[in-house]
């Protein structure tokens, strides 16, 4: 049962799509970086996958996901400890599923958060490789893209490969590739995965009012269609209630330009 779709925003639909990425993961650290991925991880824990571990986005584990922004009467209680040092130990042991928003993604799932353009004198210096090399080679990762376009989904390789992917030529004999586990890509147009032949990217579902051709045109490399190309599910009343409780200041409304509704006019 869903509410009047007029009221549901695209950001809320994306929160639910992000939450699906963690479904059935069991006892792993769920790290959703940014407003929508964090809400997705929290929604997953509060609905279908309560076994997930989460932090307060600082150094403490919580069993009750913490609402975003100023907390009012909400006082967090903690179930354990997870300093950055411990997060690294968790990463290397593989018991984590993170969702981050890289600046560039290529057809092999390689990601870039360091710099765009010539490495010596980049057109745009971003953050740095951060933890992407270690995360991507040790545990499950999903990707979040609030602005699906060819500048993010690049035609060739990303300018600086920070996170590893499935490009065979990058893997020499003896390197363990089997921990690499790229799951879902949630964008403002669709949900994709790496389930095609040779881990090719395929579209699993299109957000309401979006066509496959529109997604392909916004992507720098060829896409496949999933086996049963669906429309991305709208949030249910229960999911919306959880999202509103987790985000009392409606920070999710700031993620997408103009905070568009989930139900868009067909292109």
């Amino acid at each position: 049962m869903t509410q009047n779709t007029q009221e549901i925003t695209l950001a809320e639909l994306m929160v639910v799509a992000c939450a699906e990425a963690w479904r059935g993961d069991g006892e792993v650290l769920a790290s959703g970086i940014g407003i929508v991925p964090r809400l997705g991880a929290s929604l997953a824990k509060l609905s279908h996958t309560p076994e997930l571990l989460m932090t307060d986005s600082e150094a403490f584990l919580v069993e009750e996901p913490i609402p975003l922004g100023p907390r009012g009467d909400f006082v967090p209680t903690y179930s354990g400890y997870m300093s950055f040092d411990r997060v690294f130990e968790c990463v290397w042991g593989g018991r984590r599923h993170a969702m981050i928003g890289p600046s560039q993604i290529d057809r092999w799932g390689q990601t870039n958060l360091s710099s765009v353009g010539d490495y010596a004198k980049p057109k745009s210096a971003i953050l740095g490789v951060r933890g992407l090399p270690g995360n991507s080679i040790h545990h499950a990762n999903s990707l979040f893209v609030p602005n699906h376009g060819p500048r993010v989904f690049v035609a060739g390789e990303v300018d600086m490969v920070c996170g590893v992917g499935y490009k065979k030529e990058r893997w020499a004999a003896g390197m363990r590739q089997d921990f690499v586990d790229l799951r879902r890509i949630v964008t403002d147009l669709c949900v994709m995965d790496f389930g095609g032949p040779d881990r090719a990217v395929r579209v699993l579902s299109l957000h309401p009012g979006v066509s496959f051709e529109q997604v392909q045109a916004a992507t720098g490399f060829p896409l496949l269609q999933g086996p049963s190309l669906a429309t991305t599910a709208l949030p249910t009343d229960d999911q919306l209630a959880i999202i509103r409780r987790l985000d009392p200041h409606n920070l999710r409304a700031t993620v997408l330009k103009g905070n568009p509704p989930a139900q868009r006019a067909a292109a």
Partner: protein, 291 residues
């Protein structure tokens, strides 16, 4: 024993061309009073090693960085560090960019007096391509797995900031996350620690003593610097100063911006800085950031 120094005495031990490690993480627990003293000095050509925050941007803006060893530079609330970006995009310094975990491994290796530690982090990425000196190594055991041999990151000097210390060099880090400051202390030939509160000798309960993360024999000098992490976040004493960080951020785009910031905040001494930002009253108003 008395290791107390002034900030100027500590910074006088840093020479041009040295490799300098700076503790903290992004906009957290940065030894900013020591960094400000370094900005006032004529030291240059530094190799700076940091989980970078505004201190890296300031050192870049002041032209003191010959080479930067880092995994990121960010102020979190303002994700893109403006002066770092400007210098990086201008090719103003040499770049040695590592995964956050490789970086930790490099410090650990140095602290353990190892030449390297093996890790998977960095394999199949451009971190190897952009650091041609990095080598891989195969396991000598039956598995034969190939790893990155992350070389030790040895530091000439480390700068850290703590909540409490004594004149012997005992330190307490009361933050929720001790970060990796202890590894900087272990990796360094000399380590200078600034502190919010300074005593002759700490006399602690067992519970409080657990906030001590590295031994005093690693500490070369202690500098009393209340407010010394401002404008970064010093858990649990004060939050980051977002207004100040915005003012600093604007200094990268305004005409004559850095010179203006420098003139307003850096060129006086630390007492003038603390007075300029509003002193202890201001620090008391800086709430912990809410995530």
């Amino acid at each position: 024993m008395n290791k107390e120094l002034t900030a100027a005495q500590a910074i006088a031990r840093i020479e041009s061309g040295m490799t300098l490690g700076i503790g903290g993480w992004g906009p957290r627990r940065k030894p900013m009073a020591l960094v400000r003293e370094l900005l006032r000095s004529d030291v240059k050509d530094l190799t700076v090693v940091a989980y970078g925050g505004p201190e890296v941007g300031m050192l870049c803006a002041a032209g003191k960085v010959k080479k930067l060893v880092y995994g990121f530079v960010t102020m979190d609330a303002i994700p893109l560090e403006p002066h770092f970006r400007k210098a990086r995009e201008a090719g103003a310094f040499e770049v040695e960019e590592y995964d956050e975990g490789m970086f930790e491994w490099g410090l650990r290796a140095a602290g353990m007096r190892m030449s390297f530690l093996p890790t998977r982090c960095g394999l199949a990425t451009d971190v190897l391509a952009r650091n041609p000196a990095l080598k891989t190594i195969a396991s000598p055991y039956d598995d034969g797995e190939v790893y990155v041999a992350m070389p030790a990151i040895k530091l000439d000097v480390a700068l850290l900031h703590v909540n409490e210390a004594d004149r012997w060099g005992n330190t307490l880090n009361r933050g929720g996350d001790p970060l990796f400051d202890h590894l900087f202390a272990r990796a360094a030939e000399r380590c200078f620690v600034s502190t919010e509160r300074l005593q002759d000798r700490l006399s602690l309960s067992r519970d409080d003593a657990r906030f001590n993360f590295f031994e005093r024999y690693l500490v070369t000098g202690v500098v009393h610097a209340p407010g010394g992490a401002h404008p970064t976040y010093l858990d649990p004493d004060y939050g980051w100063d977002l207004d100040h960080l915005k003012r600093y951020n604007a200094s990268a785009t305004d005409e004559g911006g850095w010179a203006g910031y420098r003139g307003e905040f850096i060129d006086g001494d630390e007492a003038a800085y603390q007075a300029r930002i509003g002193g202890a009253e201001r620090l008391a108003k800086l709430r912990r950031p809410v995530f």
